[in-house]
């Protein structure tokens, strides 16, 4: 292009013309003007909300998701947990044995199936519309998770109170016996739904895992002897820790929008 000597001469020549220092007043006027320019997110950004308004906003979000989640999910959860309570009562009255508690088996899987069906092309036609709103997809996901888990939690608590009253179960122990596996399995289903974005695949994996866990704990199959009994009381801290890890991993993955919008929006 040019040799070094030319370049040096040109630079020396051009350096004879100095630009003036900028006028601070002009810069201040510019900054003032720029402060009046509406920024892209300024008009859609939420204003600072009071605690009450935040609670109301959270409630509105959860309520909006009630309409989105398939009604069959609510009905199925209610029926299966009611069925679990009735069977538990029947077994208890037949032999008085407290070793087998169907509620402990059904509560986690009902919740896990519901969680797995929170997202997916077939189960959520309104997702694309919601992703176009200022509310983050992650928040929508969490709202649905809280809604479904909360619903099953209340149902299972009611079932436990009924069982404690009618069949002399220790309420605290009973609640812990299903709450820990329910938390674990729901967290796993949540992670699977974020990972695969496919409800059926998530349900199948969660069901298979849960079946193995239950068989290992209750049936004492020799083939499953090598698998640790995660329903044992001693394994509860591990289940809680695993659930926490699964939720954290799922949230980190969900933060990457493309991971759970790829099939619906791209």
């Amino acid at each position: 292009m040019t040799n070094h000597q030319d370049d040096h001469d040109i630079r020396a020549f051009l350096d004879r013309w100095h630009a003036p220092a900028p006028d601070p007043a002009a810069k201040a006027r510019l900054i003032d003007s720029l402060n009046t320019v509406p920024l892209p997110a300024a008009w859609i950004g939420a204003p600072t909300l009071s605690a009450r308004a935040r609670v109301r906003q959270a409630w509105l979000l959860v309520r909006s998701q009630m309409r989105i989640v398939n009604p069959i999910t609510w009905i199925a959860s209610l029926l299966v947990i009611a069925f679990g309570v009735l069977v538990t009562l029947a077994i208890h009255q037949m032999d008085g044995a407290a070793g087998m508690i169907p509620l402990v088996i059904v509560a986690p899987i009902v919740t896990a199936v519901g969680v797995a069906f929170l997202y997916g092309e077939e189960v959520d036609p309104a997702l694309e519309l919601q992703l176009a709103t200022p509310i983050s997809p992650l928040l929508i996901l969490l709202a649905r998770l809280a809604l479904l888990f909360g619903f099953d939690l209340i149902l299972s608590l009611i079932g436990s109170v009924i069982l404690a009253g009618a069949a002399d179960f220790a309420l605290g122990s009973l609640i812990v016996s299903w709450l820990v596996p329910m938390t674990f399995l729901s967290a796993v289903a949540f992670l699977l739904s974020v990972l695969f974005f496919d409800p059926l695949q998530s349900v199948l994996i969660a069901l298979t895992a849960w079946t193995g866990i239950v068989l290992r704990h209750f049936a004492n199959f020799e083939a499953l002897g090598g698998i640790p009994d995660v329903l044992a009381v001693s394994a509860r801290p591990i289940l809680i820790a695993a659930a926490l890890i699964a939720v954290i991993v799922a949230l980190r993955l969900a933060e990457r929008d493309e991971r759970f919008t790829r099939k619906d929006t791209l």
Binding site: M1, T2, D6, L14, R16, K27
Partner: protein, 183 residues
Amino acid sequence: MIADETLARRVQNGDRLAVDPLVERHYSPLIGYLYRMTGGDRALAEDLAHETFMRAITNIAQYQHPRPFKAWLYAIATNAARNHYKSADQRRTANTDHDLDDVPDDHPIDAPLIEGEEAAAVIAALDALPDHQREVVLLYYYQQFSLQEIAETLHIPLGTVKSRLSIGISRLRERMKAMDYGR
């Protein structure tokens, strides 16, 4: 130091605090560029710099992260300067014999800031270049842009930047010889 591109992305996301660092970094060099683009009209350079930043922030959604913000900003500035002369028909035509004596009384050059005849000679030499060559020379020598940055700023191929710079330098050398400057 946070990269310009990161700051621009923050502005895109509505972070007003990211605007000031961008202004602090680029205001002074941009004034220098526009001052020379306008042949030494400080008031006009300030107006164009004002317009450039206003356009950039107003249209920040059009900035494509992670492309260089500086090139995007200077492209806006260059267009602002071109449009000014196009619309007002104020662009002086190239005049190879231009020197300080030819400058009329109402010429916009900021006389106190021009350091004597030497600065006037530089102005005359640059003014003799066609617009497209002068832009490349100004960006390369005064703004310290790389050839690639110039190509991105002016939206022209790298080869075109090289040829414009080469021809521009040749013409400057001719002017320097004519003025008996240098060798």
